[in-house]
């Protein structure tokens, strides 16, 4: 069942459309992550749903009810702000209890709920602590507990892990995912970090300049980026113009095999780094010079400079990785080649 529906929602600041005719649906118990670079309008989208940002056009429906006339405090949604916005004049418990008090909960019942939530986010007994004494990760947990406390029908997270360091982020994203699936929470999150989005979401929505560039499961988006923008945003650099015909594409790198059934004509072509194979010396293939070599833990990332065409990214295992300055020959794996659907 659809919990949240956006119907052609637009937000304009002056002449500039920050959110441009966006249609989006979030089903109950679903975790949807809006992914996009900064300035793509994703935070504004959350503010629209919360009612903090009036729309210029379109409708916001929560549980099939139009929210146009519903003020922020009656929408029953939760929003975790990017920088948490904990109330500095209240302690941790006071922050978590805030939403419960606003709903008229009595002191006794809310105290039990606060403790339950602090336990849930891994901060048992922290109720009396001052907000200023918390570390970034702890603040994030308190903000989450505060947003979860009134049991909102939709929980929205704005860059939930943006300010945390990498190790903590990777651990928390796993914790969040299992927490939400255990509680059955419906979540709409926004982030600029694709790793975070893919790890957290059932469905990913990529935004660009206020419009939706692609929506799908993390796997779909990863395997079949809908455009050069999405591909490059996901971190792929091997994107070139190509003419596709008869199972192969003519590119600046020469002839590249494409998967069966790929669309033909003037297209743009993505070759994932794993699809760039290093061949044994003496075989034919594109001749390149190794421009740089970066150790990435599980593999080695190479930047190859071919005789013609742009620099090519490749991946290989640590054993047998060429040195900088070596000449190598490469060929392409068709299954790792994607003909991007949006034309030249």
């Amino acid at each position: 069942m659809t919990l949240l529906r956006l119907d052609g929602v637009s937000v304009r600041f002056g002449d500039r459309a920050v959110v441009d005719a966006v249609d989006l649906e979030v089903a109950e118990h679903e975790i949807v992550c809006v992914l996009g670079p900064s300035g793509s309008g994703k935070s504004t989208l959350l503010r629209v749903v919360a009612g903090l940002q009036p729309v210029s056009a379109g409708r916001v429906l929560l549980g099939d009810a139009d929210q146009a006339a519903v003020p922020v405090h009656r929408r029953g949604v939760g929003l975790m702000f990017q920088d948490h916005q904990l109330f500095p004049h209240r302690d941790v418990g006071g922050n978590v209890a805030f939403g419960l008090r606003m709903r008229g909960a009595s002191g006794g019942s809310s105290a039990a709920r606060v403790e339950e939530l602090l336990e849930l986010v891994g901060l048992p007994g922290a109720g009396r602590r001052a907000v200023a004494s918390l570390s970034g990760g702890e603040q994030q947990r308190v903000a989450l507990a505060r947003a979860l406390a009134p049991s909102p029908r939709l929980l929205m997270l704005d860059e939930p892990l943006g300010q945390l360091d990498r190790g903590l982020r990777e651990r928390l994203v796993v914790e969040l995912r299992s927490l939400f699936s255990r509680l059955g929470t419906t979540v709409l999150a926004v982030t600029h970090d694709q790793g975070e989005a893919f790890a957290l979401a059932d469905r990913v929505v990529v935004m660009r300049d206020g419009r939706i560039a692609q929506a799908g499961t993390p796997l779909e988006v990863w395997q079949r980026p809908a455009s050069e923008f999405v591909a490059r945003f996901l971190g792929f650099e091997n994107v070139v113009p190509a003419t596709v015909s008869g199972g192969a594409a003519a590119t600046p790198w020469g002839k590249v095999p494409v998967p069966a059934g790929a669309p033909e004509g003037e297209r743009r072509l993505l070759i994932r780094p794993v699809g760039v194979r290093l061949e044994a010396a003496g075989t034919d293939g594109l001749s390149c010079e190794v421009a740089s070599r970066t150790f990435r833990g599980t593999h080695v990332a190479l930047l190859l400079r071919p005789g013609a065409g742009p620099v090519l990214e490749a991946e290989c295992s640590l054993a047998g990785a060429p040195a900088v300055g070596d000449r190598v020959r490469v060929s392409f794996t068709p299954s790792e080649v994607v003909v991007l659907p949006d034309g030249p």
Partner: protein, 557 residues
């Protein structure tokens, strides 16, 4: 985030206008109207407006002399105050030493002292029969130095609070970054700290210039017949010579000058609200390190002792120096209505209760009006809002004498016949209290992150509830401090009160001035005793404020 829809924008404007309505009405009725009436009475005759009088008055050599003196003494006072107070600002901001809290409260005492008391304190120090006269036969009360020193005494706190408040919060790491990049100690200060402080120094200078340009009580008492500022001249022309046209012209001249100063001030304040990295002042202060810092600390302590403590101490000493030897003789005399030789209808001691009651009422009015104004100004807006901001500051500079006299001639007929009402005095006092309330509240209100309010709204708080749960707790301390300042300036207000306080209900400053105006040792001693009481009341309220000083906001006073 800006409002996207015109409807929401319109609503915000409507809210702003609703908040401004009360302050606008208040200032219109109790400030603009009386002042305009006085000016009108001076310049309008049966044959219509006599604008030619402006030229005539300004061409008079005595008036030109007053203008020249007013300007250059204000300029000299400002420069002198900066020279003495800037090292003080540094010491209070960056050095940690025992008794700092108490000393900071102490240097602020003069600012809220009634000008009459400041005048009498300096008279006791440098006047005829004063301490310096007794010790070395030095008298300064006939020279301009007494006025300049009293102005430094009076405005020291303005610089220490405005500049020091910001200085304490500047991130020292900015200077450290410059040092690491190769700047010497002085170069780092000059290129990093000074530019950051610049607008605050400018704002403080302009405030000092404004206060000294419109100086009344100090010049009235210390200036004698030879030195007269515009404000004193307005009083002389109005109350003694009954020359309303001249007073009206001078009021307008002062109004124009003050308007100009405030316009420049508004510009510097706006620049000051730029993006500075501010930190908790507790982290920036340290114990003095090295010889130069200890010498600086010593110098500042010495200048505070000589310039601020000494006049206050002499004042207290004189109040106990009764004819029959040291004792409470003058204080006892205050309980007796006849002791002043018929100066009073009531025992002078009653002035204390009058003053406290008036000041409490004035504080309530100032908080209400100023609070609404500050709330309206919190929402940043166009030039109209900025104009409103400047308008609120005008009462600080416009002749209080004119306002007081204006009250008498405008609020004396129905529907606003307040002549016999006690509320008249608090209304006039609230006029000078409001700017302080606005100046104290505004930075704090503006510092409240709008997204905290949004967070409360998302969690289910209605707009009113969000204000109560988020804004109010965060600004409560500022509110108390604003109340304290409003209380102190109401207590000390003299220029307007002297016209409108009823003879059987004098306030403390009015009683002091009346005692000083009479010859005789008994009157002088009682004036000193009353001044001491007034000073104590101010000091106690300030000490309470000092405890409430918010850690992270830089108020302007």
């Amino acid at each position: 985030m800006r409002d996207a829809s015109p409807k929401a924008g319109g609503r915000a404007t409507a809210v702003r206008f609703a908040l401004m309505a009360v302050p606008l009405a208040f200032f219109g009725l109790f400030f603009a109207y009386p002042v305009a009436a006085i000016v009108g009475r001076g310049l309008k005759t049966d044959e219509g407006w006599q604008f030619g009088r402006i030229g005539e008055v300004l061409a008079r050599p005595d008036i030109a002399g007053v203008l020249w003196f007013t300007t250059w003494q204000a300029f000299a006072s400002t420069v002198l105050t900066l020279l003495v107070a800037l090292p003080g600002a540094y010491v209070f901001a960056r050095l940690e030493f025992p008794g700092k809290q108490l000393l900071r409260a102490l240097v602020t005492v003069p600012f809220v002292l009634p000008t009459v008391v400041v005048g009498s304190a300096f008279l006791a120090l440098v006047g005829r029969g004063g301490l310096l006269d007794e010790l070395w036969g030095v008298r300064l009360d006939t020279t301009v130095w007494a006025i300049l020193l009293a102005h430094v005494f009076f405005n020291y706190a303005v610089v220490v609070r405005t500049v020091g408040g910001l200085w304490a919060q500047l991130d020292p790491r900015q200077e450290e970054a410059a040092r690491v990049l190769g700047a010497g100690r002085f170069a780092a200060w000059r290129r990093v700290t000074l530019p950051a402080l610049g607008p605050a120094v400018a704002a403080a200078s302009l405030m000092v210039f404004l206060f000294t340009f419109t100086s009344f009580g100090v010049v009235q008492i210390l200036g004698g017949p030879s030195y007269s500022t515009l404000e004193v001249e307005v009083y002389r022309q109005t109350a003694q010579l009954l020359d309303l046209p001249t007073a009206a012209v001078l009021t307008m001249v002062q109004f124009a000058a003050v308007g100009l100063i405030l316009a420049v001030h508004a510009r510097t304040v706006r620049r000051r609200e730029g993006a500075l990295r501010l930190v908790d002042p507790a982290q920036t202060a340290h114990r003095p390190r090295g010889r130069s810092q200890r010498i600086l600390l010593g110098g500042v302590l010495l200048s505070v002792a000589l310039l601020i403590v000494a006049p206050l101490a002499v004042l207290v000493e004189r109040s106990f120096d009764a004819p029959g030897g040291y004792g409470l003789g003058f204080y006892r005399a205050l309980q007796d209505a006849g002791a002043g030789g018929g100066t009073f209808l009531v025992p002078p001691l009653e002035a204390i209760w009058n003053s406290l009651q008036y000041a409490l009422a004035a504080t309530a009015i100032a908080l209400f009006v100023g609070g609404l104004a500050a709330a309206a100004l919190t929402r940043r807006g166009g030039s109209f809002v900025r104009g409103f901001d400047a308008l609120l500051m005008l009462p600080l500079g416009v002749s209080a004498v004119t306002v007081g006299f204006g009250f008498l001639i405008t609020l004396d007929e129905p529907p606003l016949d307040l002549r016999t009402s006690w509320i008249l005095v608090p209304l006039a006092q609230a006029l000078v209290g409001v700017p302080f309330v606005v100046r104290t509240m505004l930075p704090v209100l503006r510092a409240v992150d709008g997204r905290l309010r949004e967070a409360a709204a998302v969690l289910g708080a209605s707009p009113l509830r969000a204000w109560r749960e988020v804004d109010l707790p965060l600004v409560r301390r500022a509110l108390l401090i604003a109340a304290g300042f409003a209380f102190a300036v109401s207590l000390g207000e003299f220029g307007a009160t002297v016209f409108i306080a009823r003879p059987d209900h004098p306030t403390l400053p009015v009683a002091v001035a009346r005692l000083l105006g009479r010859a005789g040792e008994m009157n002088y001693g009682q004036a000193m005793a009353l001044s001491t009481i007034l000073m104590l009341v101010c000091a106690v309220s300030l000490l309470l404020l000092e405890r409430l000083r918010p850690a992270t906001t830089s108020g302007e006073f």
